[in-house]
C-alpha cells in the first residue's frame, strides 16, 4: 500500500509542529523518518496513523483519501516506543486482541484466531511464551510482542515510533537486523521514526530527514550520506566539520590562504563542509593546516581535533591509528570530498 502525504500542516494550539509537508511512501518500502527531537517526525507518523488530525492537507492510502478516516478505519499497525502492551492479558491474548475486537461479520472463528496468533509469535520467535504476561518479559521480547500484535490485524501500513528507543545497545542491534528480516519476509510498507542516524542508515530503504517541522531531504541512505542537500543534513547524518570560506575566481580561501581546492561557484562567502575521513594529508602551502588539539582512538582510526588559524576554527579529521602526530604537532590536509553551502 503506498501512502501519500500531501501538503500537510499540523498545529498544536497555534504552535506549528509541521509546515506544509509532502511525502510519497512507496508500496513495500521501509522508510525512516529521521530527525532530532522536536523535528515533527513523530507527529508525522501519528498523522499517518490517524492518531492526530492534520490542520490542513491530505493523506492518501493508495488512491483513497484517508484524511477523514478514524484510526480504526485506517487499518494500520502501530508499534509504540514503550510497547503499550495490555498488561492484564497474556502474550497470546495481546496478539489476538486485534482480531477479537472485529465485528462478528469479519471476525475469524476462535480457533483460527489462536492459530494465527501462534503463527505470529512464531514469526517473532516467541513461541512457548504464549501464557506469560507482559511484565514477565524483557524489553526486547515485549517489543517483539508489540510487533506481532500490530501485524495480527494484517495492516495496510506498519508504523513504528522509535521502536528500539527504550532498549539497550546490543538488543537494539539484534532487533534492527531482525526487523529488516521480518519486513523482507512480510513485505509490509513500513514507516519508522528514529533519532538515531546509524539505525536509519542501516535499516531503511529510504530516509526522510526532518528538522523543525520540515522535510530536509528524502533519499536512499547513499544519497543522503554522500550528497546532503543542506547544512543540517550534512551535520546530522554522519560526522562533519564546517569552515567559513571565501571563493575568489574559482579558488577557495580560508582567511588569507588558498586551501588548494577550487569550485566553479560564483565568488563570495560560503561554508565548506567535509567529513573527517574524506581528507588527504598533503605537504605544502595550499592546504588547510592546523595544530593538533586532542586526539583519541576510534576503532581502526585516530580521530584528531585540529585548531586552524589559531584557535578560531576547530575541525575533526581521521588519521591512520599509527600516525605519529602528537599534541601540538602541525598537520596539513585537504578535503577529498566536500560541499559548499551559502553562509549561515
Amino acid at each position: 500500500m503506498e501512502v501519500r502525504v500531501q501538503n500537510v500542516r499540523k498545529e498544536f494550539d497555534r504552535f506549528p509542529a509541521l509546515h506544509d509537508v509532502s511525502l510519497d511512501i512507496k508500496s513495500g518500502e521501509l522508510i525512516a523518518l529521521l530527525g532530532p527531537s522536536g523535528s515533527g517526525k513523530t507527529t508525522l507518523l501519528r498523522l499517518i496513523a490517524g492518531l492526530e488530525r492534520p490542520t490542513a492537507g491530505k493523506i492518501f492510502f493508495g488512491q483513497e483519501d484517508a484524511s477523514e478516516k478514524s484510526v480504526q478505519e485506517r487499518n494500520i499497525g502501530f508499534v509504540f516506543q514503550h510497547y503499550a502492551l495490555f498488561r492484564h492479558m497474556t502474550i497470546l491474548e495481546n496478539v489476538s486482541f486485534g482480531l477479537e475486537v472485529r465485528p462478528r461479520s469479519t471476525r475469524p472463528p476462535k480457533a483460527e484466531i489462536r492459530r494465527r496468533a501462534r503463527e505470529l509469535l512464531d514469526l517473532v520467535q516467541l513461541s512457548g511464551l504464549e501464557k506469560r504476561y507482559p511484565s514477565q518479559l524483557s524489553g526486547g521480547q515485549r517489543q517483539r510482542v508489540a510487533l506481532a500484535r500490530a501485524l495480527a490485524i494484517e495492516p495496510r501500513v506498519l508504523l513504528l515510533d522509535e521502536p528500539f528507543g527504550a532498549l539497550d545497545a546490543q538488543v537494539r542491534r539484534e532487533l534492527r537486523k531482525w526487523l529488516r528480516e521480518i519486513h523482507d519476509r512480510t513485505g509490509h510498507t513500513t514507516v519508522f521514526v528514529t533519532h538515531d542516524q546509524e539505525e536509519a542508515l542501516e535499516l531503511a530503504d529510504r530516509l526522510c530527514v526532518m528538522s523543525q517541522g520540515k522535510i530536509e531531504q528524502v533519499g536512499t541512505p547513499d544519497t543522503v550520506y554522500d550528497q546532503p542537500q543542506s547544512p543540517f543534513v550534512f551535520g546530522f547524518i554522519g560526522e562533519s566539520s564546517a569552515l567559513p570560506v571565501n571563493i575568489e575566481r574559482g579558488d577557495i580561501w580560508l582567511g588569507d590562504r588558498p586551501i588548494g581546492i577550487s569550485s566553479p561557484e560564483a565568488s563570495g562567502a560560503a561554508r565548506l563542509f567535509f567529513r573527517p575521513h574524506d581528507i588527504e594529508l598533503v605537504e605544502g602551502d595550499a592546504a588547510l593546516s592546523g595544530v593538533v588539539a586532542s586526539s583519541r582512538r576510534v576503532g581502526g582510526t585516530r580521530r584528531v581535533e585540529l585548531d586552524i588559524g589559531g584557535a578560531a576554527h576547530r575541525v575533526e579529521i581521521d588519521l591512520p591509528f599509527d600516525h605519529p602526530a602528537g599534541e601540538r604537532s602541525q598537520i596539513s590536509f585537504r578535503p577529498k570530498r566536500w560541499k559548499l553551502f551559502p553562509p549561515a
Binding site: 480504526q72 486485534g98 514477565q136
Partner: protein, 281 residues
C-alpha cells in the same frame, strides 16, 4: 537476629530487627489486644449463650441491614467513584482543583454533621425529600437513607485509590487499542477497566469496610426502626446502654468475623490479580 537471619535481605538501610520488633509490638498494642479482649468478653457468655445472643432476630436483622446497605453503597461508589476519578485525571476544566479537593471532604467532616445535613435534605420535608415524598418514596428513615449516608462517607476511598492508577495508565495503551481496531466501548471494557480492576477492588474494600463500621452519619438519617433501619453498630450502642456488655461484644465479634472474612477474600483476589498483572515489577 540469627533466628530471623534467613528473612534478612542485604539492604542499604539497616534495622530489620528493630523495625520488625516495633511493628509487631505496635500492631499488638493497637489492633490485636483490643480485638482479643473483645472476643474474650463475648466468650464469657459460653457457647450457648453466645449463639443465643448472636442469632437473636433483632441482631440478625441489624446485621443484614448493615452489610447489605454497605455492599450496595460500596457498589454504587465504585461506579461513580471511577467516573469521578476518570474526569479528574483525564480532563482539564476550570475549577478542577477545587473539585478535586472537595472529594476529600467526607474524610474531614465530622460524621454527625454529615448525618444531620443529609437528614435535613432527604427528610420528607427536606429539599430533595419533598420531591421523593410526592412520588411516594421515603428516603430518610429507611435503608435507602442509610445507603446514601454510606455512599457519602465512602466516596473518597474509591476516588483516591483509582486516581493514581489511572494517572499511571498511559494514553498509549488506549491508542494501541484503537489502532488494533477496537471501538471506544471495547477499549473501555476490554482494556481500561480490566487494568483498573485491582484498584477498583481496593476502593471497593475500603469503602465497604468504612460503611460497615459507620455510625455517626447513619444514625441520624436511618430512623433506627428495629427490623427495618437499625444498623448493627447502633444495636451495639443500645446493648451498652442497657449495660449488656457481653451482648454488645457478641454483635461486635460477629461483625468482626464477617468483615474479616470478606476483606480477606478481597485481599486474596487482589494479590492474585496483582501478581498476574505484574504491578510493582
Amino acid at each position: 537476629m540469627s533466628r530471623f537471619g534467613r528473612f534478612r535481605q542485604p539492604s542499604v538501610i539497616p534495622g530489620f530487627g528493630l523495625t520488625l520488633g516495633f511493628t509487631l509490638a505496635y500492631f499488638s498494642l493497637i489492633i490485636l489486644v483490643p480485638l482479643v479482649a473483645l472476643v474474650l468478653r463475648s466468650a464469657g457468655l459460653g457457647w450457648n449463650g453466645f449463639w443465643a445472643a448472636a442469632l437473636d432476630a433483632r441482631v440478625l436483622a441489624s446485621l443484614r441491614t448493615s452489610f447489605l446497605t454497605a455492599l450496595i453503597a460500596a457498589g454504587i461508589n465504585v461506579v461513580f467513584g471511577t467516573l469521578i476519578a476518570w474526569v479528574l485525571v483525564r480532563y482539564r476544566f476550570p475549577g478542577r482543583r477545587i473539585f478535586d479537593a472537595m472529594v476529600d471532604l467526607p474524610f474531614a467532616l465530622p460524621t454527625a454533621v454529615a448525618g444531620i445535613a443529609l437528614t435535613a435534605i432527604y427528610a420528607p420535608n427536606g429539599i430533595v425529600g419533598q420531591f421523593a415524598a410526592q412520588l411516594g418514596w421515603r428516603i430518610a428513615y429507611t435503608p435507602i437513607g442509610i445507603t446514601i449516608a454510606m455512599i457519602f462517607i465512602g466516596l473518597p476511598f474509591v476516588v483516591r485509590t483509582i486516581q493514581p492508577i489511572l494517572e499511571e495508565t498511559s494514553k498509549e495503551v488506549e491508542e494501541a487499542s484503537a489502532t488494533l481496531g477496537a471501538n471506544r466501548f471495547q477499549t473501555i471494557s476490554r482494556v481500561l477497566l480490566p487494568s483498573l480492576a485491582p484498584a477498583i477492588m481496593t476502593g471497593f474494600a475500603l469503602a465497604f469496610a468504612r460503611a460497615v463500621g459507620e455510625y455517626g452519619s447513619v444514625i441520624f438519617i436511618a430512623g433506627n426502626i428495629p427490623f427495618v433501619s437499625e444498623i448493627a453498630p447502633l444495636l451495639i450502642v443500645i446493648r451498652l446502654e442497657e449495660f449488656n456488655y457481653a451482648g454488645a461484644a457478641v454483635i461486635a465479634t460477629v461483625m468482626l468475623a464477617i468483615s474479616f472474612v470478606m476483606l480477606f477474600v478481597i485481599n486474596l483476589i487482589q494479590a492474585w490479580s496483582r501478581r498476574r498483572y505484574g504491578y510493582g515489577s
